[in-house]
Amino acid sequence: MKGNTAAVPPDARIENRADLIQALTIASQLEHGLMLMYLYAAFSMKAFPQELQGYPEPPDVLRNKLRNWEAQILLVARQEMEHLGFVCNLLSAIGGPQYFDRPNFPQVPMYWPVDLPIELERFGVGSLLRFLAYEKPENLDDPELDALRSSGFSGKQILRSAQPIEPKFKSLGDLYIQIRTAFETFPESELFIVPPDAQADQDTVFGPGSNGTVIYNMLLFKTYDRQSAVNAINEIIEQGEGTLAPGRVTVKDLDPACHYMQFRSILMQYLKSNVSLEVAFEGARNCVRNPAFELHQDTITRTVYKGVGAQPALSVAVITHVWSRTLMGVSNTAYEALMQLLVRLYTFSNDSPEEVTAIRNTVFFPMMTMVIRPLSELVSLLPAFEKNVGGYTAGPGFEYFRTIGFLPHKPAAWIAIHERLSENAENFAIAIAAMPPEIRKSLQAQGYEPDVALPFISQNLTRIASNFKTYMNF
């Protein structure tokens, strides 16, 4: 199948099904990467009064502010998850594979055609400016933020490096506009070759009766023809950038709930606290950039940071603290299991409705809210390096150690996933039994209650594995 090239803008590169699948694959990686960057920033935020002493404002007032900003960032991350779901549906509709693979963090600009750096960085001015660069509509004039860029804030360099050089896609929005153009112009009857029952919607994610209802600011629907595909892409663009309007726009033209405006609002409020107070307010823990269990082959950078001096952007901090490494291992394995389940869910092969329900009842609430988030928050409190070099803490690396692909043999898939869930539960139980006394003391000093929170996570990990086996009836 070829598109009607006469109708395709001359700068578009998407000319056939293969190109469109390729572009959607890039979109999938980007949505996935953005979601994790946002999550990393959210999970790095301070949450305990012990962490918020010494500022002019009372600790509870500060943590209320941080909680509100974290909620905004988590909302945006959830919507990125929804966007990833839309991309999965679009891929499915045109006969593409589900794609949850991505390179490990960090990736320098140039890895993706969008030409922006991807890395895990704690909450702060720098990360917020980078998030804004990703979500900014191309046609937006935002003089207030432009002035900020040139005023010497720490995000300046990152924004400068974010300027496109020879982009294939000038921005995330541009990528989606080109994808939309393809869906608008390719012959509809030839493009949609997979029935919509092979796609996910609100019922798939939240259970029967959820279709058409916005839940947690998400509304996933199936894309089975030109119009529904265009609707999905418009939803992605509007949620991110806040407008579909052509021509120059200002921030007043944007939907205040869009990602760009959410980040902009957080940044402006944060700067007010960060700059105007006598003591600059630091809202995040001292988490390293791009924490990793090891330096992966697919990480373009070879720069390893060891805690001495300021950490360069796009460097990898290989965590050396032994117990923190153990916990990172559990966190990474949980993340991989989560991805394995998502690939299975979105692929819609020959899984029965009961099996789809079982995956949903494992992956969304239990794994995302009771495992990934608590583990991520926990590792952001743990020392990054032995002897606490530099006073840095770790963070979730969201690392891939192997390809996350579709496990084609169903009974084997259930066994493999259950094994991973069970082993993870066992490893975590072993780890917390061996928690060094100084870690317990350090966590308690920060306000965390290890003797309550860790057994809680452990119980949940064990129960999720056991539930999965029961659900899958083996």
């Binding site: 949450a47 009372p58 502010k65 909620a71 947690y216 239990p366 809210t369 009771m370 949940n460």
Partner: protein
């Protein structure tokens, strides 16, 4: 054999995090319930009686026309949503439980820090989970009735809930969910409308903010509540939960006791409190006591909801029969 049927009702408080937050989230982030500046952390516990654990927020005023499910009219302008579950009627044998009866207005308490155990579908694949532990004590004048649910008969009392199969717990989950319950709406005053009720609360908080000198904590707290109360639409959990109810039907089957005067008697065995596992040693059969109730009228602003239900007691033993024959007096 005498049967006691007790009707009970009242507000409870449960300061719990709501999904998509993890259930042990301490302040509330991405759900719609929060610990506010100046308040202690969320503790996820269901409190059925007043006490130091209750966190009362300012601006809770009973609206005109509010009526409890049993028909009691609440005083307009009085403090609203005061925690306390009590017997509001029923029968003790043939005698109606009315004002003056030892069980009238008896406190109905769920003991030992019960929680809605569900953990975002980890404990059980059901929205509201099980109320665990379920240790119900009714304390009247000179009489106390106690029984707890034995989740996993044959296993120790302290058997971890997290190791009990979902199928075993399922009878103790919510049996049905009712939307637009008139008894819940009655608590909202003449309008019967959750949006109107929330708007009145919002106005009250705006007035407090305007007329009071507030600390930084109190100001941030009231601003958070105002922000949440402004989010009002019929499809929002903050709004529709005020008129919805979850229905439960528990067979209270575990260790049971009665206390008459100062004398406590185990009715169906004894609990070995010395053992690590806290075994219950049954030696007399005792049928389960049915306890049917709903929990609803959930107010995300005050973190309170209403409970209304009935429990039946039988097999209370000779001492109880004597107590009843004596007109509600212990021997």
């Amino acid at each position: 054999m005498s049967v006691i049927t007790l009707n009970f009702e009242g507000y409870v408080q449960c300061r719990l995090a709501t999904d998509p937050d993890p259930t042990d989230e301490r302040r509330g982030v991405s759900g719609y319930t929060f610990a506010l500046p100046g308040e202690k952390d969320l503790d996820w516990t269901i409190y059925t009686q007043p006490g130091p654990d209750i966190v009362a927020r300012p601006g809770l005023v009973t609206p005109p026309g509010a009526v409890t499910p049993s028909g009691s009219k609440l005083v307009a302008g009085s403090p609203d949503r005061q925690v306390g579950v009590r017997v509001c009627g029923g029968y003790c044998g043939d005698h109606p439980i009315v004002n003056g009866h030892p069980l009238f207005h008896a406190t109905v308490t769920l003991e030992d820090k019960p929680r809605f155990e569900e953990r975002n579908y980890v404990v059980i694949n059901q929205q509201f989970g099980v109320i665990a532990p379920f240790k119900l004590r009714v304390k009247g004048v000179g009489i106390e009735l106690y029984r707890q649910v034995d989740w996993y008969p044959g296993k120790p009392q302290n058997f971890p809930l997290m190791e009990i199969p979902q199928a075993v717990l399922m009878p103790y989950t919510m049996q049905s969910f009712s939307a637009g319950v008139p008894a819940c709406a009655g608590l909202l005053g003449d309008s019967l409308d959750p949006s109107v009720y929330r708007a009145l609360r919002l106005k009250k908080l705006m007035d407090i903010k305007k007329t009071s000198r507030l600390t930084q904590d109190a100001l941030a707290a009231i601003d958070k509540r105002i922000e949440q109360l402004r989010m009002d639409n019929p499809g929002d959990r903050r709004t529709f939960q005020l008129v919805n109810a979850a229905n439960y039907s528990y067979a209270v089957n575990g260790p049971a006791s009665i206390k008459l005067g100062d004398v406590t008697t185990w009715l169906n065995g004894a609990v070995d409190t010395q053992s690590q596992w806290n075994y219950f040693l049954p030696d007399r059969p005792l049928l389960s006591w049915p306890c049917n109730f709903w929990i609803g009228n959930w107010d995300a602003d005050s973190l309170t909801c209403y409970i209304s239900g009935t429990i039946q007691y039988f097999g209370l033993g000779g001492d109880f029969e004597q107590w009843q024959a004596n007109g509600g007096k212990a021997r």
